[in-house]
């Protein structure tokens, strides 16, 4: 596999603020790669470093093997779909899409036919004459996508492109983006703060926190084997137990994570071998449709979440009530040992 983008020890400082902190990633050619993290975690800066809108303070970024330090955005074979779409308001949709071809000196007839093709690819054939202001948010998003793809980049950068869309449209676009990426076979680098979006679309996800990468892995591994407490809590929901409590349950002070859906209420039978038990006060029940979430207050004041699927067609009367004392139980192998912090942190 060749590498589409390679970060080696890349940092980006803005004054005294470290926006990107010694990041090294290998993004493979043809991969749907997501950069996931809360706002201010450095994921967008990383994308802008690839596009060339920022230059790294230290380190090197290679795109398809070629060093990019000092290259301007127009010298790079990557295209970006911007968060605010950045469509040119004074041009109609067709001219917007044909822009990249125009500045490369491609003749009017060819660039218009290729732009029309790109518009058809995003299901906007025949919208060429309209101005961006006459389109809906979802349509503008597609135009921005067509405008980037018409240049046939080897790497497409997407900066939270679905953030401004409503939920239904977002889910539909997620599917379409994934389909498009498979069809075209080019590398997609997708920046998002929405972990569901990252998990459902990506081949691999890099989780960012405070400018550094916590973990790069497949969505399944990220969820099932989070490496750090941050990943466990940011990707899905997790109960992270530490210190004394961890020691009592596992014999070690190393923190561990247990997913709410892997915990069940203890029945009358004694715990089987390889099972762990803990009791506390049930203080909240949230009905969420497909599942019900129970919050249990443990002795040390920490809260433990349990999620139970409502998978019976006939709803059973709830067996538990807030205020009850309950015992939770889970399999020992469902616990995932975590690193509390990244080794290079805490300078």
């Amino acid at each position: 596999m060749t590498l589409a983008v390679q970060f080696s020890g890349v940092s980006r400082l803005f004054g005294s603020i470290t926006a990107v902190d010694r990041v090294s990633i290998d993004i493979e050619d043809g991969e749907f790669f997501s950069m996931l993290g809360p706002s201010g975690s450095g994921k967008t800066t990383c994308l802008r470093l690839i596009a060339g809108f920022e230059q790294p303070s230290t380190g090197s970024i290679r795109i398809h093997g070629a060093e990019t330090i000092g290259l301007a955005p127009y010298q790079r074979d990557v295209n970006t779909v911007f968060q605010d779409y950045a469509l040119f308001p004074h041009m109609n949709v067709l001219d917007n899409v044909a822009y990249g071809l125009k500045v490369k000196g491609i003749g009017k007839r060819e660039r218009h036919s290729r732009a029309e093709e790109a518009l058809e690819m995003v299901a906007l054939g025949g919208y060429g004459e309209r101005k961006p202001a006459q389109l809906s948010g979802g349509q503008r998003q597609r135009v921005a996508l067509a405008r980037a793809l018409v240049n046939r980049p080897r790497v497409l950068l997407l900066d939270e492109p679905l953030g401004a869309l409503d939920l239904k449209l977002r889910e539909q676009m997620q599917g379409e983006l994934k389909k498009l990426q498979r069809q075209l076979g080019i590398t997609f680098i997708f920046v998002t703060h929405d972990q569901t979006e990252a998990l459902s679309m990506s081949d691999r996800v890099a989780v960012f926190n405070k400018g550094a990468i916590e973990q790069v892995d497949t969505p399944r591994n990220l969820y099932m084997k989070p490496a750090t407490a941050f990943v466990a809590e940011f990707v899905g929901t997790s109960n992270v137990l530490r210190g004394e409590l961890a020691k009592r349950l596992t014999g070690s002070e190393q923190p561990f994570s247990i997913r709410p859906e892997h915990i069940r209420f203890a029945d009358d039978q004694a715990a089987a071998s390889g099972e762990v038990e803990i009791s506390g006060l049930l203080h909240d029940i949230q009905y969420q449709g497909a599942a019900t979430r129970y919050e249990i207050q443990l002795e040390n004041g920490q809260s433990l979440s349990i999620s139970q699927a409502n998978d019976q067609w006939q709803e059973a009367t709830p067996a538990h009530r807030p205020g009850q004392r309950v015992t939770a139980r889970w399999a020992r192998h469902a616990m995932i040992a975590l690193r509390e912090d990244l080794p290079h942190k805490g300078r």
């Binding site: 596009a51 060339g52 809108f53 301007a72 955005p73 127009y74 990557v78 295209n79 970006t80 911007f82 968060q83 605010d84 950045a86 469509l87 040119f88 308001p89 004074h90 822009y99 990249g100 125009k102 500045v103 490369k104 405008r147 980037a148 240049n151």
Partner: protein, 316 residues
Amino acid sequence: MDHSPNARAPLHNTGPLHRLSSLLYRKPNLYLALLLIPPLLWFGGVYFGSLLTLLWQGLYTFNDFSMTVTPTLTLANLAALFQPANYDIILRTLAMALAVSLASALLAFPIAYYMARHTQGKTKAFFYIAVMMPMWASYIVKAYAWTLLLAKGGVAQWFVDQFGLTAVLQLILGIPGVGGSTLSTSHLGRFLVFVYIWLPFMILPIQAALERLPPSLLQASADLGARPWQTFVQVTLPLSIPGIAAGSIFTFSLTLGDFIVPQLVGPPGFFIGSMVYVQQGAIGNMPMAAAFTLVPIVLVACYLAIVKRLGAFDAL
């Protein structure tokens, strides 16, 4: 339940101000009307009304012998505008207004671009003040100052001599329609003063237009492969045209109506503004002054129509 008025008083304040504000809240159109009536009275009645009255007088008859105005309607004044002597004045003013607008735009754009794209905080404030400070000084003082600067033996002449460009200046002053005997009595000198005086009116609208330009558009352009000059031609310039148009409307109409600079700097010969001034003041021919007043209005209207046709307001 206690229904006595005293108990309810804190809940239902029935003071006149309170009732008025609830009335305005319930009837937003009334509120809007109250806000708009004073400026509309001023603009519609005082400003627009007096302008129409003035223009109407352009149709009155002026008796050359008795020097009196009679309210007999005639088109003679408007027809007189097309007499060669008057027509020359209009063309001279129009040419100057166009030249001044063009030169102001060329000079203003780099300054406005620098202000909008490369300055922040205190530097930006410095530029704002630097651009606007000349407007704090009296316009007449500035015009007079320029007559001295441009006069024979003045500062401008001295600089030209120091750089050994005297021959070049003489050559330029020799061009008919541009030159004159000295800088201060040449069309060129008048042009320089106009450009100096109206430049801030061009810088500020362009700066505002460039300021509104989202940086992501410029990044998108570079991202799509456009070199910096292509981004400038394809994105920056088209999107700043509304600002250039707004600025040029100022410089164009201000030059059309000015009567002081043409009097102080440049060769003899009337401008539209000075013609209006002389007709209504010294001669007392109000109808002819009114007819001349119509000219800049028509020219600016034509100018706006052309600018609109060129698509200057499409990006608004």
